[in-house]
Symmetry: C2
Subunit: 402 residues, 2 copies
C-alpha cells in the first residue's frame, strides 16, 4: 500500500535526522499528520485524537503512538515494524481524567528517552497547549526544544514521484474546475456547483481516483466575492453574478490548488479591467521564478508589474504547497512575499494566488507552479482567464445525478 | 445571514459567562471554531490561521480577533459590532518572526484586560503549544486558567432551532447513504461511491443545501473493514465484499452521523451472526436512554445485551454530537462509556456507534439520537440492517455525472 519506495522514506528520515542534529534534538515528536505521512506513510482520519510519530536520532525505525483503534491502520499504511506501533487504551480518548500525552511520556521514559532533548512541533494544530503541558509533566528530566517545521522544510523540495502525484492532482483539479464552471448558471445554487466539484475531485479519472482535500472548495458569489474563505451557501445564482472558485485536486495527499473567477452574463467593468492586470502580474512572477531567485524576488516582480495600475496587495501572493491534511494544504514554510529570503531550487512547488479583494467584489486567478532547472512551469492547463458564461445558454451536461 | 435569533446567541453568551464565573475566569479566549460559531455565528474556513472570539465577563459584546483577510467574513457572518472586529496584518501569517498571539496579547493589554484571569481552551486543536507560550509572554501579569470545554458543555443541550437543523441534516444523511449504497457494486471503485455520497451531502435537497462535514465519509471495504478511520481508495468492489459507510449530513454546521454496513452478494456468516447482536444492543441502549439516566447506564445496557454472546467492546459506544468543524463532529464532552456520569436531559444528542472490529472484518450500524421528555428518538429513518446487494443487479441510476 505504500505510495513511495522504502528508499524514499529512508532518505526523508535521514534528512530529518540531519536537521534534528543541527538543532541539538535527540528525539522528535511529529504530530503534524502530513509530516507523519511523509515519514512513514501513515494515512487515516485519526488526527482528531492525539497521536504521533517518534523519531529517535540513533534508532533506525520510527515509533507510531496512537489510539488503540487506529493501530491496525498504522500496521497497514506504514513501513514501521509492528513492534514499534504502540497504542493507548480507549479510555484516554476525550477524557477529563486521562490524557494521551501522559501515556506517551511514560512510553518515552520506559524506552530510555526520558532525559533527552525532545523536539516538539510547537505551532502545529495537532499539538495543543495541554498536550505540551502533559508531556512536560510526564518527562520532568527532558529538555524540550521547538522542533516546529523541521519536517516541513524537508518537504519543500519534491522528488520525481511526488511531482508525478502532483501532476495527477492537477488533472483532477482541471476536471473539477471544468464541471464546477459548467454548473454555475441561473437557477442552480452555490451548493449545487460545489457538489459537482466535490464529485469530480473524488471520482478523479478512470485511471486513478481522487482524495479528500485539506480545504473544501471555496465558492463565494455575488457581493460575497469580496470575502475570502467563505465556502458556499444555497443561494441561487443570478444574472450578472460573479463567482470565485478555489479548489485543489488531491492525489496520495498531494495537492494542486487552482482558482478561477467566472461571471454569468457580462462582467462588471471592474473585473474586466482587473483581469489583464492580474494576468500580467502572474506572467511577471512566472518569469522571475527560477533557481537562485528568492520568494521575495517573485513578490517584487508582481509589485513592479501591478504598481503601474495603482494597485497594492497587502496579503502574501502564495506559499509552498504539496502534502496536506485538513485544515490546510499550505506547508507553512516559504511564502511568496516581501522579505522572504527562501532561495528557489528545482522541484519546489508553490501556489501563486494573487487574489484581489475589494468591498463587494473580488477576483482570483491562481497557478500552482514547479521550479525547474531553468525557470518554472505550471501544473494546470486551465485557461488563465476571466470566464464569462452566457446567462441563458444551458449546459448539455447539467442536472441531477444519482 | 444569522442562523439563530440574536436572543439565542445572547442566552448562549450568558450561560458561558455563568460557567466562566464559576471557574473564576474574567476573560475567555475561544479558539475552537465550533465554539466561535456557537457564540457569534462566525463561519468561514479560516481556522488554519490563529483567530479567536474573546468573551469578557463584564462586557456585553464579544470581540473577534483574526487575520486581516477574514475580518470581512466576521462582519457579515456574526452579530458582533464592527468596532469589535479586530484584525492582525498579513505578515503575522505563517511567519517565523511574528506570531498572531503576540498581537492578541497586545490588544488585550491595551483594552485593560492584561492583568485578569484569562481562560484558554487548553486542549483545542486550534490552540497550539506555541500560541499559549506567546500569549503568556505577551501578558506577564495575567493569570491563565484552563477554560477547555466551557462552551462545549453549554452546547450539550440543544434548542428547538438546533434540533430542527439536525433534522435537516438527517434528511441529507439518509439521502447520501441511499446513493452511496446504490453506487457500491462490482466494477465501481470505493472513490466512486464516496464521490456520489459527497455530491448528495452537498447538493442536499431541493429545499435546502448541504454543507461540508467535519469528517469526510469513511468507506473501508473488504478486509479493510477491520480498520477504523480509513477513508477510501480507488480499489474496485468485488463480489463478496463488505463495505462500511460512515458519514454525516450537515446543515448550518450541525451534524447527524450515520453508519451502515453493506455487502455485495451473500455476507460472510460472521456478519450475519453479528447483525442481530448489534441490533439488540442498540435497541437496549435506546430503551435505557432517558432523562435521569447516565451515559454509563446506556453503556451498561449495551454490555448486558451483548455479554450473552461472549462479545466485548473496548472502545466507547458513542459521544455527544452536533455543531462541528474539521477535524471532528464529536463535541468532546459526554461519551457513552462505562463510568461517564453525565445525567441525560431532554435535547441532548448523541451518536451511538457500537462498531465491532475484528482482524480482517468489521461491522458498523449507528444511530444519532435525541433525548426526549420520556425517552429518546432517532434522527435517521434509514433501515437499521445489514444491507445485502445482489452482485449482478445493476442500478438504474448509476454512471457518470457531469
Amino acid at each position: 500500500m505504500l505510495p513511495f519506495d522504502i528508499q524514499e522514506y529512508q532518505e526523508r528520515l535521514q534528512k530529518t535526522k540531519k536537521s534534528m542534529a543541527d538543532r541539538g534534538i535527540d528525539v522528535l515528536l511529529v504530530t503534524d499528520p502530513a509530516n507523519m505521512n511523509y515519514l512513514t506513510g501513515y494515512d487515516a482520519w485519526s488526527f482528531y485524537v492525539h497521536q504521533m510519530v517518534v523519531i529517535i536520532i540513533d534508532e533506525p525505525q520510527p515509533l507510531w503512538i496512537g489510539r488503540y483503534l487506529d493501530a491496525n491502520g498504522a500496521r497497514v499504511t506504514t513501513w514501521i515494524y509492528d513492534e514499534n506501533i504502540i497504542a493507548y487504551p480507549d479510555y484516554y480518548v476525550h477524557s477529563d481524567v486521562f490524557h494521551p500525552m501522559s501515556f506517551v511520556g511514560e512510553i518515552l521514559a520506559q524506552i530510555g528517552q526520558g532525559n533527552r532533548r525532545i523536539g516538539v512541533e510547537m505551532d502545529n494544530y495537532y499539538f495543543s497547549a495541554k498536550a505540551f503541558m502533559k508531556l512536560q509533566q510526564a518527562l520532568p528530566n527532558a529538555k524540550f526544544i521547538d522542533g516546529d517545521l523541521i519536517v516541513n522544510y524537508v518537504r519543500i523540495i519534491k522528488s520525481q514521484q511526488e511531482i508525478e502525484y502532483m501532476k495527477r492532482a492537477a488533472l483532477i483539479a482541471d476536471k473539477a474546475m471544468h464541471h464546477g464552471i459548467e454548473n454555475i448558471r441561473i437557477g442552480s445554487r452555490e451548493n449545487d456547483a460545489a457538489a459537482h466539484i466535490s464529485y469530480h475531485l473524488i471520482s478523479g479519472t478512470e485511471e486513478f481516483g481522487g482524495e479528500y482535500t485539506s480545504i473544501v472548495p471555496m465558492l463565494p458569489s455575488g457581493k460575497n466575492t469580496g470575502i475570502p474563505h467563505l465556502t458556499w451557501s444555497d443561494r441561487p445564482f443570478e444574472d450578472g453574478d460573479s463567482t470565485i472558485i478555489e479548489l485543489a485536486g488531491c492525489y496520495q495527499r498531494y495537492h494542486v490548488p487552482l482558482a478561477r473567477t467566472v461571471t454569468i452574463g457580462n462582467p462588471d467593468d471592474r473585473l474586466h479591467q482587473l483581469t489583464p492586470i492580474i494576468q500580467d502580474g502572474i506572467a511577471a512572477v512566472l518569469e522571475a521564478a527560477k533557481p537562485g531567485a528568492t520568494c521575495s524576488d517573485m513578490e517584487e516582480a508582481w509589485r513592479r508589474s501591478i504598481s503601474a495600475y495603482g494597485i497594492e496587495k497587502e496579503s502574501r501572493l502564495g506559499y509552498s504547497v504539496g502534502l496536506g491534511y485538513p485544515p490546510d494544504w499550505g506547508e507553512h514554510t516559504a511564502s511568496i512575499r516581501k522579505g522572504d529570503q527562501t532561495v528557489l531550487e528545482p522541484n519546489m512547488t508553490f501556489h501563486l494566488i494573487p487574489a484581489l479583494w475589494f468591498d463587494q467584489y473580488g477576483i482570483e486567478l491562481s497557478e500552482t507552479l514547479r521550479i525547474t532547472e531553468n525557470g518554472c512551469t505550471t501544473f494546470s492547463n486551465y485557461p488563465r482567464e476571466l470566464i464569462i458564461k452566457h446567462p441563458f445558454l444551458l449546459n448539455q451536461h447539467g442536472g441531477e445525478i444519482s
